[in-house]
Amino acid sequence: MTEEIIIAGFGGQGVLSMGKILAYSGMMQDQEVSWMPAYGPEMRGGTANVTVILSDERISSPVLSKYDTAIILNQQSMDKFECAVKEGGLLLYDPNGITKPPTRMDIQIFKVSATEEATKMGNTKIFNMIVLGAYLKVKPLVKLENVIKGLQKSLPARHHNLIPENEKAISRGLEIVEKVN
């Protein structure tokens, strides 16, 4: 199994940390993992993206142009990455701020209203965990218990009190993800 993922959105949405938690989760179940951020001027405001690869084998290129999954969190990223999903691959997006929804027929499209749900839950910071939950519903490649372990590894100890809330957000994401096509 090899899963090649791009997560793309605005800086500050938790794109990089979501990728990091996913990478840690893979590592917790003995997979090979790589996490490659776009560290350019993008991260200084504007769009941010990260390529995460989970695999049972040694990972070759950490940089890709086609992905099994694209998790898209703003319109700029939709414009850039809808076409980069492999045929038969997955596109998961949050409709908030999306003016041109994806139109491809040869891929699976799912949406999760994570921005809206995070606001309802009273904490916009857990937005990225709702998205992660939605992804794990469609592709349960890492076990939830390993995601929790991943959270423990990637969060500094002083933030470990936030883990239950993150767990709740992941569960919510699992519930509210919708198939589009």
Partner: protein
Amino acid sequence: MKEVKLMKGNEAIAEAAIRAGADGYFGYPITPQSEVLEYLMSQKPHERTGMVVLQAESEVAAINMVYGGAATGKKVMTSSSSPGISLKMEGISYMAGAQLPCLIVNVVRGGPGLGTIQPSQSDYFQATKGGGHGDYRLFVLAPASVQEMADFVKQGFDLAFKYRNPVMILSDGIIGQMMEKVELEEQQPRLTQAEVVKKCPWATTGKTPDRERNIITSLDLEASKQELHNKVLQEKYEKMEEDVRFETFNCDDAEYIFIAYGSVARICQKAIDIARSKGIKVGLLRPITLFPFPSKKVAELATKVKGMMSVEMSAGQMVEDVKLAVNGKIPVEFYGRMGGMIPSPEEIVRALKNQLIGG
């Protein structure tokens, strides 16, 4: 059991330096390698091993601090990215001349000039052919993974002391910024002063009555003596050949060979998967040491395949060494991206088809 961590390449360099028992790190921040200094500062290595970590006032100051530390036989290092490495070049040439061991890490970004902060391999010439003035060479290691970023620190220090020569780890923004699993070595203690005196009889460790004073310098105004010194250096660079390292993938049945180092070698492995799924028999030779360059292996492969393609994030630098080694026996092509652009596996396969296979 060894400890496995998820780390950025830059952080792996820093942690490995502490664990290798380094005595000092002197640096100045620059993207995309600032995490080396940041991580070292956050770890307070002075409390862990007594290692000194210092942010100098400039790159020039940092490399001269390395010179000073190395002159006393200490295990010292610096790191920077392309424009910063250019600033260090005077000091590097002096250290090569004075035969001082040290480790220099270059996490390359696109140039020339301030260029960009995105990854590149355009400092190959600078690293392998000189960079500073004079007839000197660095021993150059090119990591292709976060694991190798960590491993090459200890190996780099060992080679630096073996040859009394600066060693460079030539990395790039991809390997520096990406996170992967890394197995870390156990903490190695720093050498005691008595051990340094024993290991480095040439170092300025304080004159004792039983020996002449040690002088560390790169200056000798007498040309005949300077020529002799140069001969000693050249013999040393030739001897480095015994530590040449490379890796091959899918070369056994290959009709074509990619030659690539560092992150591009990883991208080429993906390109090989794509090409082989289309029936193109292509393999990869990945030089791990860029100086000494694996010329003999390149020449040997040139007798077995129809053509080679050097793939680099540059305008074509390593390809010159490939051509020298192949010596006209088979076609050698080049494909590269510049200025911080990263080639995709698909475009590398296209280049292979268009430039080497034809059609």
